[in-house]
């Protein structure tokens, strides 16, 4: 275990060679090198920090099993030259002990990518070189002005290497960062939040974030109690991302086919081709989207409704999930694409864009056009209540504001909501332009999103929450 550490490329080449020597019919080796650094603060002071490195190797061995093919999957971190042999042997033994896999397909063919020989990319605490002093200044300013700041800044780089016995040699490095900051007023009776995704922290200014928090906390100088009920409500892009990310994760093709999701057709089959909305709404993914770049090939360490270990390395193409309000694609592996009669596999992609044809303007523009209603900041603790309608419950958080005659005139209490994002796609009356967004609920896992603000005339606030 304390033996020689290999480079990712050597790990893959040796792993594939060992698998061939031990009689595997096929093999895929995935290597993920990760590095991350973070700062966390609360009550205007640092609470935790860290610099972490990780390295994991996943070996997927395939062998003949009767008339089919079986797979064995073993994942390990801290892999050395000595332990790699054990991992490959274990993967082959696991495959030999298994029956034929229903999702078995020929491994993906490929060639060597142009950047294959490059080393893993890394991040260090240096990424915060300008951010940290500015953050310190904002914390001091908040203390001096009797406000309280709480937040987290994270930066990570994941470098993926995929090699297969069918010639695939792929490498891609992706940075990802985000900052999320909450402000509270002196007596902690009101809070506000801002969050943003970033690739390198050069475009994030803690003082500007604090200024926006201060502006929002100022809105709470007037407070108004609002009862539960259905209210005209503006969801800013972050709140739309909070809901649409959940919808995105429900696009599993096999689950829909088997009558488990809102995308199941009554009586059997899927709702592919059906209109979900009468409005020109689009939900689109593309690994090459500028600013939202995602991995451009499938990476599956286990098989499921929309993924297959046999599909590793499959090129991910731009995909319209919903176009013009109509359900166009569901997430599938090559195997499950066949189950739902889809012409090609459409695995999930780690980004999405929601847009409404012809929509323009910002959240502020929607506020200016609203006579009386609510402006949300973000949503939180979102969970499924009923998969048949994709009814979700959750809470408003860190700032719900009263809009009167086109202006924010005060802060109101928080609410519990019960709503379906699929229904909202039909019920919104005004949409703004799509902009990069950061989901409060899911952004730490899924931050590559772009969404518009939406005005929903009858958003269901089920009850009042005392939280502030």
């Amino acid at each position: 275990m304390t033996g020689i550490q290999l480079t990712p490329q050597d790990t893959i080449e040796r792993g594939l060679a060992l698998a061939a020597a031990e009689g595997a019919d096929g093999c895929v080796v995935l290597v993920a090198e990760t590095s991350s650094t973070n700062l966390r603060w609360a009550n205007n002071t640092l609470t935790t920090n860290g610099a972490m490195r990780g390295s994991s190797v996943t070996v997927i061995a395939t062998v003949g099993a009767g008339e089919g093919t079986a797979a064995g999957v073993i994942g390990r971190s801290s892999v050395t030259e000595d332990s790699l042999r054990e991992i490959v042997s274990a993967a082959i033994a696991t495959a030999r002990a298994a029956g034929p896999a229903e999702d078995a397909r020929p491994l993906v063919d490929g060639t060597t990518g142009a950047d294959w020989d490059l080393e893993p990319e890394e991040t260090t605490v240096g990424v915060f070189e300008k951010f940290a002093p500015s953050l310190g200044e904002s914390l001091k300013r908040a203390s001096a002005e009797a406000r309280h700041l709480y937040g987290f800044a994270n930066h990570e780089v994941v470098t993926l290497y995929v090699g297969s016995s069918t010639g695939l040699r792929l490498r891609q490095a992706l940075p990802r960062g985000y900052v999320s900051s909450t402000g509270k007023n002196t007596d902690l009776s009101h809070s506000a939040w801002v969050g943003t995704a970033t690739r390198d922290f050069t475009d994030v200014d803690p003082l500007a974030l604090d200024a926006e928090l201060t502006r929002r906390l100022g809105w709470a100088n007037r407070t108004v109690s609002v009862d539960a009920g259905r209210h005209p409500t503006i969801l800013p892009p972050a709140a739309v991302a909070d809901l649409m990310t959940y919808l995105y994760w429900q696009l599993d093709g096999r689950d829909a086919l088997e009558g488990r999701t809102v995308f199941s057709k009554a009586g059997g089959g899927t709702r592919l081709g059906e209109p979900l909305s009468s409005q020109p709404v689009n939900l689109h993914s593309d690994p090459a989207l500028p600013g939202l770049e995602a991995f451009g090939f499938a990476v599956a360490r286990s098989s499921g409704g929309s993924s297959s270990v046999f599909d590793n390395g499959l090129t991910l193409a731009a995909t319209d999930w919903i176009r013009g309000g109509k359900l166009e694609h569901l997430m599938t592996s090559r195997y499950t694409a066949g189950l739902i009669d889809a012409p090609t596999a459409t695995p999930d992609i780690e980004n999405y864009v929601v847009s409404v044809d012809g929509a323009t303007g910002s959240t502020d523009d929607l506020v200016a056009g609203l006579g009386n209603g609510l402006l949300l900041t973000c949503l939180w603790y979102i969970r499924m209540v009923d998969p048949q309608t994709l009814l979700l419950t959750g809470l408003t958080r860190d700032g719900v504001y009263l809009v009167e005659n086109g202006e924010v005139t005060g802060a109101v209490n928080n609410f519990r909501f019960n709503e379906s994002p699929v229904d909202l796609l039909s019920r919104f009356t005004t949409a703004g332009a799509t902009v990069p967004s950061y989901s409060r609920e899911w952004g730490d896992y899924f931050s590559r999103t772009a969404t518009p603000p939406l005005l929903v005339p009858d958003f269901n606030m089920s009850s009042v929450s005392q939280a502030n």
Binding site: M1, L39, T45, G50, S78, A98, A132, N154, Y381, I382
Partner: protein, 509 residues
């Protein structure tokens, strides 16, 4: 102690790792660089996930996460670094990185970090209570058992599809700090999820096993600690009844809640609300704070006098049960709510020291935990449990006290606000109670309440014969996000006047 029968050994392959050498190198380097305190962890977490769909193996994966971490206090500031190479050179580098992290962070740290005292434990060993290491059982044997379970349900009338998933975890940890504590600890846990699905022309639904995850080994799947034969035989009928059940009429009802549902309400509305880091605002940007603020310790009326809630890291088969926490503090048990009044919190060494005057004790109750070597120890949840009444009633006796109500079994959907006031839960099965008797299932049910109102409405708790240890493998908290496993024991309990929603109406249908 609860240990009976054959006690497993610490895994020999973990003991073969150079844990003391790595720790010595890291701690010495931290001392040389001026750290006033340093701690080292070497962790290996093996995990296996097996999934079947309609009795066909869909996925099986065997993972291992192995790495080391160093945390220091340098110039009164935390610094943390983690890596994966098991060499003394790497251990030294991590100590240097941790100190560097503390130095970079010093300008934004306004609090000098001090830790509560704890006795030292020199080279001690602790192993959780289980019989069969899941990783010693051949994969084929496990798949065969799960296929049998799935087949039993899939062959039943009305079951259209089946999902079976079992997660097993084997965690080995070596900890050492500059105060002189060092321990080696091994824990095993298991989490099954078996769900039958039904599809009709106009609707679909599901019914899941209520078997909780547990700090047990593979013996759990073969009948030790859970009666699989009995439950699997009933699931198809429960599902069929649910598919044919009438929709609930929204309103206010008295409810009897089974432990299979109540554990999750305890988790969200008591477990998290009595975490002192939340009460102090450390989680304000992420998991949220707590209405149960420190100034209310000893006075906050949390619930009815029938409410006695304990925190512990000692319960046999508890998912949060340890010998020692990730700051070298020994496992303990203490009161959180007594006679309905808030009397305690879950804390780590930093919070214990800073708040010792208010807490009334200078010692941490051992709630520091990191979910892997790659993450920072934070305050995580102990096993938080509602105690039964010593001579309390049975579940049937509680139901007999209800004229118009609902009996709630099994967990499903859950959500609570950022200060742990407003919650909403659904469940697996909801039975109409009329004049003290069950009248069959209802559907489309959710219950919604405010924490102190809800616990204040608790009229009675069941006796020890109704007590079940529930729990979860995947409680999320902290930034970067960490996953924690925790158990919650509770009896059945009777609540008066709870708001019941009709979820179909909530959807505007």
């Amino acid at each position: 102690m609860y240990r009976v029968g054959v006690v497993p050994d610490i895994d020999a392959s973990f003991l073969a790792l150079p844990r003391q050498e790595l720790a010595a190198a890291a701690l010495q380097r931290a001392r040389d660089l001026g750290a006033t305190f340093a701690e080292f962890r070497l962790e290996r977490i093996r995990s296996e996930s097996i999934s079947l769909r309609d009795s066909v193996l869909e996925s099986a994966k065997d993972d291992e996460d192995l790495g080391l971490a160093v945390r220091v206090i340098h110039d009164g500031t935390w610094g943390f670094a983690a890596g994966v190479a098991l060499t003394t050179d790497e251990a030294v580098i991590l100590a240097e990185q941790a100190v560097n992290m503390a130095q970079v962070s010093r300008p934004i740290n306004a609090e000098t970090i001090e830790l509560a005292d704890e006795p030292t434990y020199d080279d001690v060993t602790w192993i959780s209570s289980y019989e069969i290491d899941p990783f010693s059982v051949p994969r084929a044997e496990k798949v065969a058992l799960l296929t049998d379970y799935s087949d039993r349900l899939l062959k039943a009338e009305g079951v259209a599809h089946m999902s079976v998933h079992v997660a097993t975890i084997h965690e080995c940890k070596y900890y050492a700090n500059t105060a002189g504590t060092s321990y080696t600890q091994q824990r095993v846990r298991i989490g099954p999820d078996i769900t039958a699905h039904a599809v009709a022309e106009d609707r679909f639904d599901s019914m899941s096993s209520t078997a909780p995850p547990a700090g047990r080994g593979w013996e759990y799947m073969t009948g030790t600690g859970w009666n699989w034969d009995e439950e699997l035989a009933q699931i198809p009928a429960w599902l069929a009844e649910k598919m044919a059940a009438p929709t609930v009429e929204a309103g206010t009802y008295d409810v009897v809640i089974d432990p299979s549902n109540l554990w999750l309400t305890i988790h969200e509305s008591i477990g998290h609300a009595t975490e002192l880091d939340r009460a102090l605002g450390y989680e304000a940007n992420y998991a949220g704070t707590s209405f149960a603020t420190l100034d209310q310790l000893g006075t906050l009326k949390y619930g009815s006098p029938a409410m006695h809630v304990t925190g512990d890291r000692t319960a046999e088969h508890g998912l949060s049960t340890v010998g020692y926490d990730d700051e070298g503090v020994a496992g303990q048990q203490w009161d959180l709510v007594k006679d309905g009044i808030l009397v305690g919190y879950q804390v780590d060494r930093r919070m214990a020291k800073k708040n010792e005057d208010v807490l009334g004790t200078p010692r941490s109750n051992g709630c520091a935990y990191a979910d892997s070597s790659g993450h920072i120890p934070i305050q995580r949840m102990a096993n938080v449990s509602l105690q039964p009444a010593p001579d309390g009633p049975s579940t049937e006796e509680l139901i007999s006290r209800v004229r118009n109500g609902i009996y709630i079994v099994g967990d499903k959907s859950w959500s609570i606000d950022m200060q742990r006031y407003n919650f909403q839960f659904t469940g697996q099965r909801f039975y109409k109670i009329t004049d003290g008797k069950l009248e069959g299932q209802l559907r489309d049910v959710a219950y919604q309440a405010t924490t102190t109102d809800f616990w204040g409405s608790m009229e009675a708790v069941g006796g020890p014969q109704t007590y079940v240890l529930g729990g979860a493998l995947n409680c999320g908290k902290a930034e970067p996000g960490q996953s924690g496993a925790v158990s919650h024991g509770c009896p059945s309990a009777l609540f008066r006047g709870v708001r019941i929603l009709n979820t179909t109406q909530e959807a505007g249908r």
